[in-house]
């Protein structure tokens, strides 16, 4: 009948959704559920924590400060950079083999690479090899955009402040200093080297930089950063790439080289070593420190005991809480229902 059709026209649909009767899980945070849950999570975390802690302990780290601010260091002569091309040598000994592959880092403290205006001061297009940005760099690069109207390439603060200390490592065997081969390839991200940073498609590379000037703090041009390897020049120089990836925190280290070649593929054997440092980078202006670090790595990265401890602490907390809950539970005696 027509009437009935009209009736049903206004009638709401009787579905679980419209009537808000969708099947639902109603977790209630009561002791019965919480305690086993806490215990399980706690135990799992303690397990992971132990594993992490042990892994981290296996990692060997050798760290040396060479700032020379205190005067006792061999590099204190270079601290004020009175002397250009200042070179100093640090000697150290290793008691036991540092298992390979060994990573060689340099570190800076109190250095704010994460400063906002510093970070902005770069031109990604230029670094991508876009020659149009050679002539007119991104305005964000200012004040390292032009020097008397000649464009700076690479422009900007980040590039300008590139770390330029260099290191040579020698193993002292019987009074002889044997150079330890340092591998400078593959220390930057693969994508940085292959995708993000590209040299302009001009041969020879130097021609691309006609009409530009190098950053004011630099002593070398960008196309002659590495005199030994022609392919390690320009924007795809590995040290340059490492520097351009800004550190997250003011105390940071950056990978300098890897020790993987020849006799040292198994690691740095015990013995006496000397590190020859070409001290160029000033840190006294901001009270920073410079250091070198030799370290091997595990599957979870460099040495860091924090995460293991954190897992242990949180895991224990969970267990403690479940005990507290258990006491509460016992005291108030919950029968499940009656």
């Amino acid at each position: 009948m027509v009437k009935e059709e009209e009736d049903s026209s206004n009638r709401p649909d009787n579905t679980a959704f419209t009537q808000q009767r969708l099947p639902a899980w109603q977790p209630i945070l009561s002791a019965g559920i919480v305690i086993p849950g806490f215990v399980l999570i706690g135990l799992a975390f303690i397990g992971i924590g132990v594993g992490l802690f042990l892994t981290s302990r296996d990692i060997q780290v050798l760290e040396m400060d060479y700032t020379g601010a205190d005067g006792s260091s061999p590099c204190s002569v270079c601290y004020n950079l009175a002397d250009k091309n200042c070179v100093c040598t640090m000697s150290f000994s290793i008691d036991s083999l540092i298992k390979g592959p060994v990573f060689f880092y340099y570190g800076l403290t109190n250095y704010f690479q994460n400063q906002r205006r510093y970070g902005v001061s770069r031109d990604d297009k230029q670094l991508y090899g876009d020659t149009s940005n050679f002539a007119s760099p991104n305005s964000e690069c200012a004040p390292y955009q032009y020097i008397s109207n000649v464009p700076i390439v690479p422009c900007g603060s980040v590039a300008n402040s590139m770390f330029n200390d260099t290191f040579e490592l020698f193993k002292n065997v019987n009074g002889q200093s044997l150079p330890v081969p340092l591998d400078g390839k593959g220390i930057a991200w693969w994508t940085d080297y292959n995708v993000k940073f590209q040299n302009p498609n001009v041969t020879p590379l130097i021609n691309a930089f006609n009409g530009t000037v190098r950053p004011p703090f630099w002593s070398k041009n960008v196309y002659e950063l590495d005199t030994t390897d022609a392919s390690n020049n320009g924007f795809i120089n590995q040290d340059f790439l490492v520097w351009m990836r800004r550190a997250a925190l003011p105390d940071f280290r950056k990978l300098y080289r890897r020790i993987t070649d020849g006799d040292y593929s198994a690691g740095l054997p015990a013995g006496n070593y000397s590190l020859k440092i070409h001290y160029n980078y000033p840190v006294n202006g901001f009270g920073g420190k410079k250091k070198v670090v030799f370290s091997n790595v595990s599957w979870m990265g460099g040495k860091n005991e924090f995460l293991g401890i954190a897992y242990l602490v949180i895991g224990s907390l969970c267990v403690v809480m479940s005990v507290v809950m258990l006491i509460v539970y016992a005291k108030f005696k919950f029968p499940e229902d009656n």
Partner: protein, 1335 residues
């Protein structure tokens, strides 16, 4: 002809007036368009009036953008966000890519704009549909009616309307095919009333015998400017001859109504398009701000403060950081673009602005949009609830205000109307008293009682099976078959009439099977029936023997007059279910002597001046006619009458009690046969059909509280006034019984019976008569006609005129009509009260009726002490049967022991609402459990609501169904209208419209609670989420030289709120149910959590903030230490933090979510998936874009790093551990009522039912046990007395509160949940105690 002195317009002036602008401002002049068809457009005097094209859209294509933006910028938050986005374009302070920073603002603005656009488009479509409906408009060129679109109709057009057509504009009725020049309309779309209304052809066109010819029309109409009063229309029609005729609302057919039962009608358009009354009444949804939103705004303000503090801190930090380097600038410090050093102070100032941009997320931009979306979803669900759907009327709840759903969960006071809200407003005739003799109608009472039993049994099967609607089936049937009207043209063959008769009568008989006491089912009292028979046979005898009627004994005369009054003193329209109405009319009236009664009177307006006055003069000459029989002998047209007897006549009345009375009279064989504007036909036993010439109808109004009809009695030929009205007013108008003790006795007895009826909860009406002599009437008529033709102040003049007539009445009797309580009202009231709601009933009814209904619906309790405040004066002193206690302190003492109920009447209320007394009145009223205000006017109702709302600072809800509740509904925080039988005014004014009172329970207890707790939780969560995310960046400032750098990529920062974390909270905000609907209804106490704002208290905001700070610390420092001393770069370190924050925020939502449906799971999974998808795509898309972060391949690299997963596991757990632990302890150690409810939900269904069953109050209606307890009636003659009394009472209440150990708790409800071990141990057997409310 009489011209009113105040009539401002003369026909001769009409031409000049067109030039005089100021005059036109007051009235509208309408000429027929066809006169000007040949002339140029600018000569048409109607050209200034809007045409019939309607446009309800806000925007056009061009104006959309600017107008919509302009509207959106009215919201302060939007301006703020645009300001921030623009700030980003300033190079010195910018933090993000400027275009990117615009994204959220643009997104939010465009979401709102799209919503607006869509709404506007829908309006546009419906406008277009309406504008393109067809109607017949007279064309001068074609000399016939042409089909035209509605939008082409102009003011001054002639329109021909056919049966079942909808009116395109407000049309003045000029001609009707109905022989009585009537047109019936159904006004359901305007006021919801489904009974047919009669409209009348303008008087001057009344006598046209031939069809109306538009070409001959040359009158001019002067009427008032368009206004939105549906019940008012005033104007003149001025003819070429200079004659003026008054126009009233009875001549006007309103746009949107449907023509019924009338073959064809012709009219001239007066108001078109947006100036029609229907359109002027059409206002959009209301905008209110909810309590929760007000509270939220305070916290938004706090967020701004926190933001500023954070920015200031960072700025100072940056200044100091710069300062420490002195003149030696480190290599990583960047000079200003021009190479000069920036001073630390300048840098700090710039940084302050930058930080505002970076931290902008703290002010939740999407909060406002999210709230709107969630509310729309909530409204959808409320709308869809089957439990709020009324099968009987096929209507469900309407949410008219979209943004106060959560207020429903916070109500503290309910103000309810009585009639139609608590009661059915279906009147059943119960008892009557005539001439001082009571007829108790026992059989009737028994039958009704029986029905009530059956009713409750049948209830269930009715609600399941698709039953037919009980009311108005006939009209609905006709609307479904428009052809039925056509088939019954007078020329149609007789069998076709029968064919159409068949179907509706089938429908009708099915309806009769339903065991519902209807107005029409009245079993007559045998005694009275005998008397009626005796009386009418005597009269018949007298008529045959030509004896004057005055010989009849006054008792019997009263009885017959009583029934005649019941039958004719109303506005009931007769319709036969078997036949369309005009068919009956046509055949009957053909036998009448038309010329004698033509042009006499109308429903509410008067006859044209000339005819009546001339007629009156004639009659004065032929005085010999008096006291003889001039009635037309009853004529029976065989076929028609047989039809009539087969099919019952149906009475359609504007108010249900009128119909009840007419049906009651019919039970005594005194039945209304037909009503025409100028005459009423009544069929009496023995006497047959009598035609009463209807001279005037003085309609009912709430000030006079009565209505009268003036008729010429066919048997005596006297001018008789029958008045029906509230007893209080009628009793005052009774002629002082100076002659004879008998009359005095009748009045006295009737008064006693009236009190008795009222005590039974019946509605009482007094019936009175007055016989007017000719001179008196002529004198009155003169004045009355002047009043009617007045264009200014017509209402007031008519009112005064009515007062002049209704004097010196002779009391005939009184009736008692029962207004049945709606289903479930006592249960609803009981459970609302358990929910901590104070219920006040404000009614216009008399005190006795109101008190009795209050007992019946368990508003007042027999155990309660009732405090009655009455103002006594001369009229009412004999009126109160209860003892009157003078005010003395000795009577106060019992108050402290018992619960109190307050009953106050309108006059006393007027004193109590006085400025000086209102505080004391409130103090007393709030210590009473229930308050009942009787005899209150609509204004008083709204004043009471306003007083409580403003003084007590509580959330108020007003519920009502009639026009008299509108002001109250508008004043309250939430207005609820009952879409019942009293029209739509209350619904139009309301925020929510319910079909029945009992649905209020689920609306408040379930939906209100849900909406409130959902929104409260969502808002808190929003604040938490933003604070937590922003503080991550704040902590980082300590490690980046306070330079405004962020480790979170700007994309994540900006889209975090907008996309990644947006959906789950919307889902939870829409779907989460803390307690199931069943438990919420069974345990109304749970509602109190909303009343006390327990889900969102100010301290909770700060708790959330603190928790947010803690969580962000965890999320920041765990990755910090994990990556300390490593070669990690900025965004490879920042991206895990973002991921961790997202996971933490989602798990936090999980902890706060109470019910997990698949939608919740899906939304959370979607959020996580969305984040990773966006991150992966973003990180792979462009190696050189997105400076400065340039996060190329970061996420891909991270996903290969086990450390990332280890961090993502431990950090959220570490961050959420305290909250989780707190929630777990809270659930076990101090479960709040809501939590207990949730635990109950977890129990197996039957166990739960057992437990709930224990705590449920047993509520049942037992009318027989009604008793009025000890009542303190305090009579106060003056406001001073009331003041003294209230002062004493307040003092006493204070003393009780301070003295007694259980004093305060016995007056103010406190909700105590026993936290005993026994109870926690789940000894639910004792649930009845622990769950109950202790007062």
């Amino acid at each position: 002809m009489t011209l009113g002195d105040d009539g401002p317009i003369r026909f001769t002036l009409a031409k000049r007036q067109r030039k005089k602008k100021p005059k036109e401002n007051k009235t509208r002049t309408v000429h027929a368009n066809i006169l000007y068809d040949n002339a140029k457009g600018e000569e048409n005097p109607n050209r200034h009036y809007v045409n019939n094209k309607i446009k309800t859209t806000k925007y056009t294509l061009l104006s959309f953008l600017p107008k919509n933006l302009f509207e959106q910028f009215h919201r302060f938050a939007n301006v703020y966000f645009v300001f921030i986005a623009l700030l980003n374009f300033v190079p010195v302070v910018n933090a993000f890519q400027p275009e990117l920073a615009l994204a959220p603002v643009v997104f939010i603005l465009s979401v709102t704009a799209i919503k607006d656009l869509w709404e506007d488009y829908r309006r546009h479509r419906s406008d277009k549909e309406i504008n393109h409906m067809d109607c017949l408009v007279y064309s001068r060129l074609e000399k016939r009616y042409m089909e035209k679109y509605w939008k082409e109709v102009r003011v001054g057009d002639f329109i021909r309307l056919r049966c079942n057509e909808i009116l395109p504009a407000d049309v003045l009725l000029l001609s009707s095919s109905d022989p009585d020049r009537l047109c019936h309309i159904e006004t359901a779309t305007l006021d919801g009333e489904t009974n047919l209304k009669q409209r009348q052809v303008v008087r001057s066109f009344y006598d046209l015998d031939c069809e109306f010819d538009p070409l001959k029309y040359n009158s001019i109409i002067e009427c008032e400017k368009p206004n939105n009063d549906l019940n008012r229309f005033r104007g003149y029609i001025i003819h070429r001859s200079g004659r003026r005729d008054a126009l009233s609302k009875d001549n006007l057919l309103l746009r949107g109504c449907t023509i019924r039962n009338t073959e064809e009608a012709v009219g001239i358009v007066i108001y078109a398009g947006h100036e029609t009354k229907a359109m002027l009444n059409n206002n959009g949804p209301r905008y209110k701000r909810s309590k929760l939103e007000r509270q939220m705004n305070v916290d938004v303000f706090w967020c701004v403060i926190i933001l500023l503090v954070m920015c200031l801190f960072t700025a100072v930090g940056h200044g100091l950081w710069m300062f420490q380097y002195g003149d030696k600038r480190p290599v990583f410090d960047v000079l200003s673009p021009d190479g000069r050093d920036l001073s630390p102070i300048m840098s700090a100032i710039y940084l302050f602005l930058t930080m505002i941009i970076v931290f902008q997320v703290l002010i939740p931009i999407s909060l406002f949009v999210s709230i709107e979306i969630v509310k729309i979803c909530q409204v959808y669900f409320i709308h869809q609830d089957l439990d709020l759907y009324d099968e009987e009327t096929d209507s469900h709840l309407q949410c008219r205000a979209l943004n106060i759903t959560e207020d429903l969960g916070q109500m503290q006071y309910i103000f309810s109307d009585k009639t139609g809200t608590l009661t059915e407003n279906k009147m059943v005739f119960r008892r009557c008293t005539v001439a001082g003799v009571e007829y108790s109608h026992d059989a009737n009472a028994r039958r009704i009682a029986m029905y009530q039993e059956m009713d409750s049994e049948e209830e269930e099967c009715m609600s399941h099976g698709g039953t037919l609607p009980r009311r108005d089936s006939v009209t609905s049937y006709q609307s479904a078959h428009p052809a039925s009207c056509r088939n019954t043209q007078p020329s149609a063959a007789p069998w076709s009439v029968h064919l159409t008769v068949l179907l509706p009568s089938v429908v009708h008989s099915t309806i009769n099977l339903l065991p519902v006491p209807q107005e029409k089912d009245v079993t007559p009292d045998p005694q009275l029936l005998d008397k009626v028979n005796e009386c009418s046979s005597q009269m018949d005898f007298m008529r045959l023997h030509r004896q004057p009627m005055s010989q009849l004994t006054s008792d019997l005369a009263d009885i017959i007059d009583f029934f005649i009054a019941l039958t004719i003193c109303n506005t009931v329209v007769v319709s036969s279910p078997n036949q369309p109405r005009h068919k009956v009319t046509a055949e009957l009236s053909s036998s009448l002597n038309r010329s004698s009664n033509r042009g006499c009177s109308s429903l509410l307006s008067s006859p044209s001046a000339d005819s009546t006055l001339t007629k009156l003069n004639e009659e004065q000459f032929s005085g010999s006619l008096e006291h003889t029989f001039s009635a037309v002998p009853p004529s029976y047209d065989g076929k028609t009458s047989s039809n009539l007897e087969e099919g019952e006549l149906r009475y359609e009345a504007e108010s249900p009690d009128e119909a009840a009375l007419v049906y009651a009279a019919r039970a005594y064989k005194c039945s209304l046969v037909e009503r025409l504007p100028d005459q009423v036909t009544v069929e009496l036993p023995h006497l047959g059909k009598l035609n009463f010439e209807l001279l005037h109808t003085l309609g009912f109004d709430s000030t006079r509280k009565r209505m009268s009809v003036v008729v010429r009695h066919p048997l005596t030929d006297q001018i008789t006034v029958y008045t029906k009205g509230a007893d209080s007013v009628i009793m005052d108008l009774i002629k002082p019984p100076d002659t004879g003790k008998r009359k005095k006795k009748i009045v006295c007895r009737t008064q006693n019976y009236l009190n008795l009826y009222a005590a039974d909860g019946l509605r009482t009406l007094c019936i009175a008569r007055k016989v007017s002599d000719k001179e008196e009437y002529a004198c009155w008529l003169q004045h009355h006609l002047q009043a009617e033709t007045a264009i200014q102040g017509r209402e007031e003049l008519l009112f005064e005129s009515a007062l002049r007539l209704e004097t010196n009445l002779h009391l005939l009797g009184a009736t008692g009509i029962e207004d049945r309580l709606q289903d479930g009202v006592p249960e609803t009231i009981a459970s609302l009260r358990k929910a901590g709601l104070q219920i006040w009933v404000l009614t216009g009814d008399k005190q006795e009726t109101a008190v009795n209904i209050a007992y019946a619906c368990k508003l007042l309790d027999p155990e309660e002490e009732i405090l009655t405040l009455n103002t006594t004066n001369a009229f009412h002193s004999n009126f109160a049967p209860v003892e009157t206690y003078p005010f003395s302190s000795s009577h106060i003492s019992p108050f402290s022991v018992h619960r109190l109920g307050l009953v106050i009447d309108g006059r006393t209320l007027a004193y109590a609402l006085d400025k000086s007394l209102e505080d004391k009145f409130l103090a007393v009223a709030r210590s009473c459990r229930s308050v009942l205000c009787c005899r209150s006017t609509p204004l008083q109702k709204s004043m009471v609501v306003k007083l409580v709302r403003n003084k007590l600072k509580v959330m108020t809800l007003a519920i009502g169904d009639g026009a008299n509740d509108v002001s109250m509904i508008q004043v309250a925080d939430v207005g609820v209208g009952i879409s019942g039988q009293e029209g739509m005014q209350a619904v139009m004014a309301s925020d929510f419209a319910l079909p029945r009172f009992r649905y209020l329970q689920k609306l408040l207890l379930v939906h209100g609670h849900w909406c409130y707790s959902r929104l409260a939780n969502m808002i808190l969560y929003f604040f938490y989420k933003n604070a937590m995310f922003v503080s991550l960046i704040f902590w980082y400032q300590f490690y980046c030289g306070f330079s405004g750098s962020a480790m979170v990529d700007q994309w994540y920062l900006i889209f975090f709120n907008l996309m990644f974390s947006a959906f789950p909270q919307l889902i939870t905000g829409t779907l989460d149910k803390d307690v199931s609907a069943e438990t919420l209804q069974r345990l109304p106490q749970l509602y109190m959590s909303g009343q006390n704002s327990e889900e969102y208290k100010p301290y909770m905001f700060w708790m959330n903030m603190i928790d947010a700070f803690y969580q962000s610390l965890a999320c920041f420092f765990i990755p910090y230490f994990a990556y300390a001393d490593s070669d990690v770069d900025l965004f490879t370190w920042g991206t895990p933090i973002t991921t961790i924050a997202l996971l933490t925020i989602l798990v936090q939502l999980g902890i706060e979510t109470k019910t997990w449906t698949w939608v919740n799971w899906l939304s959370i999974a979607f959020s996580v998936a969305l984040f990773f998808t966006v991150a992966l795509c973003y990180n792979a898309s462009c190696p050189t874009c997105y400076s400065p972060s340039n996060p190329y391949w970061t996420m891909q690299k991270l996903l290969q790093d086990p450390l990332f997963y280890l961090l993502c596991t431990i950090t959220p757990i570490a961050a959420l551990l305290p909250r989780y632990f707190y929630r777990a302890c809270q659930g076990t150690l101090f479960p709040n009522p809501v939590r207990v409810g949730r635990q109950l939900d977890k129990l197996p269904a039957d166990t739960r039912r057992n437990i709930l069953g224990l705590s449920r109050v047993t509520v049942g209606i037992d009318i027989s046990q009604r008793c009025i307890s000890v009542t303190n009636v305090v009579s106060v003659e003056t406001p001073d007395r009331l003041e003294t009394f209230l002062c004493g009472l307040v003092l006493d209440l204070d003393q009780t509160a301070s003295a007694g150990a259980d004093g305060p708790s016995c007056l103010f409800p406190t909700f105590i949940f026993t936290r005993s071990r026994a109870w926690l141990g789940g000894r639910f057997a004792a649930g009845s105690q622990t769950f109950s409310c202790f007062y």
